[in-house]
């Protein structure tokens, strides 16, 4: 049985831990809320852009040849944009998305190159000696704006256009709700405009708007597509980053809440042990005194 002082010291340290994890939980909760709002706010843009793209694809059957970002070619190299967190202590968040990516990697026969966002993914890919063509470590601010995403999206599109990779997949964590986040690996490039796009837009939420069939383009369809398509890809990357951030914070919040709960439980157990030990020592003292008195009385 540990001494009273030892138990007291342990209670104190566990209380400290609980305080820290609780604070982290609060921080994660407020960040999660903001990230969620941000992710929702950026959805209309992606939806509208998709409508227009879809329409452009309908317009010309030969749209496939209209833009290099749409052209399928024999796949020699696969690229994956892997979005993870810079920091740990977020429960299974980082390991889930990395595991999903590795599983995907195993299923492709072609050599894979990575573009990583976040320190965790970069470190792991390095450790396994995977090829990393670009990394964005400790790069994203708390609330990334479009400005922060542009370099990432451009890097992705450039490596596709330059032929470094022939296909690009987006590995990110979709935010479903506070307790559920699903890691996903979806194809980003070459982009398939005739398919309802599943990365960020729920199929049902796309209203089937009757867009006029005869359109005027200024200056011409090719130029318009050239403007619209990279922006859409950019907004998809942006959306994926925001979803991942919201997932990260909620995963961290849940993990910290569990840690806090566990700490409280531990404190309860320790308190019980402490009280029992205290009572025991009191009983022992009383017994000593009684024994002493009795011994004296006998004399």
């Amino acid at each position: 049985m540990a001494s009273l002082r030892e138990i007291r010291r342990r209670i104190k340290s566990v209380k400290n831990i609980a305080q820290v994890t609780q604070a982290m939980q609060m921080v994660a909760a407020s960040r999660m809320k903001k990230a969620q709002e941000q992710a929702l706010a950026s959805r209309p843009y992606a939806e509208r852009t998709f409508e227009i793209l879809h329409h452009l694809a309908d317009q010309s059957k030969s749209v496939k040849n209209l833009h290099p970002l749409l052209v399928e070619r024999p796949v020699k190299n696969v690229g994956i944009l892997l979005i993870t967190a810079d920091k740990g202590l977020a429960g299974a968040y980082n390991s889930n998305i990395i595991r999903a990516t590795m599983r995907f990697n195993k299923s492709t026969k072609q050599p894979t190159a990575y573009i990583t966002v976040g320190k965790k993914g970069f470190d792991l890919m390095n450790r396994f000696n995977n090829k990393v063509i670009a990394d964005f470590v400790n790069y994203l601010p708390d609330r990334p704006g479009l400005i922060d995403i542009i370099p990432i999206a451009e890097m992705v599109m450039d490596s596709f256009l330059n032929g470094v990779v022939d296909e690009v997949y987006l590995a990110y964590t979709k935010f479903v709700n506070t307790v559920v986040q699903t890691p996903r690996v979806d194809r980003l490039l070459p982009f398939e405009p005739s398919e309802p796009f599943k990365i960020t837009i729920e199929h049902e939420s796309l209203q089937k708007k009757t867009l006029a069939s005869v359109y005027e383009y200024e200056p011409d369809p090719e130029t318009v597509l050239d403007v619209v398509l990279p922006r859409f890809i950019r907004s998809l990357v942006y959306q994926a980053v925001l979803e991942s951030i919201a997932s990260e914070h909620s995963a961290r919040m849940v993990a910290m809440r569990n840690a806090t709960d566990n700490a409280h439980e531990l404190i309860d157990t320790l308190n019980l042990t402490y009280n029992r030990a205290r009572q025991e020592s009191i009983t022992k003292e009383i017994l000593d005194i009684v024994g002493g008195v009795e011994a004296l009385g006998k004399n």
Partner: protein, 137 residues
């Protein structure tokens, strides 16, 4: 004259949505005014000012970055990289961004990609300042 529905959407948020009388937008081929029952049109936009007319109300001015515009007979959607309402523009911030970009370009040590970004932000910041000076309080 009927009204036309205008939505201004940026990647970060939905900025504006209302029925208006006329939209004047900086199209890539020149400034264009859009009234209701316009021919369906899809166009790219330049960095510039977007003016929204509504009867009986003061014009609303936006500073917008590059983007594109989808015109339907009764619906205009503007999808811009950046858009800000003139009286929301923070003059000091715009000026700070302007000076920073200018300095970065002047230093001459930027890579091609960074230079392009700095030029774009310079263009945007000076547009913001121009719009704010002209219409801001």
């Amino acid at each position: 004259m009927g009204t036309i529905r205008l939505d201004i959407v940026t990647v970060e948020r939905e900025l504006f949505s209302d029925d208006v009388d006329m939209v004047v937008a900086p199209g890539s081929e020149g400034v264009m005014g859009i009234l209701s029952n316009h021919v369906p049109l899809l166009t790219s936009l330049n960095v510039g000012e977007l003016v929204v007319h509504k009867k009986g109300q003061e014009d609303i001015i936006f500073a917008i970055g590059d983007g594109f515009m989808d015109v339907q007979p009764c619906h205009v959607t503007i999808l811009a990289d950046v858009a800000e309402q003139a009286n929301e523009i923070n003059m000091e911030r715009a000026k700070a961004a302007h000076d920073k970009a200018e300095k970065a370009i002047a230093s001459g040590s930027l890579s091609a990609g960074k230079l392009r970004r700095a030029e774009a932000s310079l263009k945007r910041a000076s547009l913001r300042m121009k719009v704010a000076e002209k219409y801001g309080k």
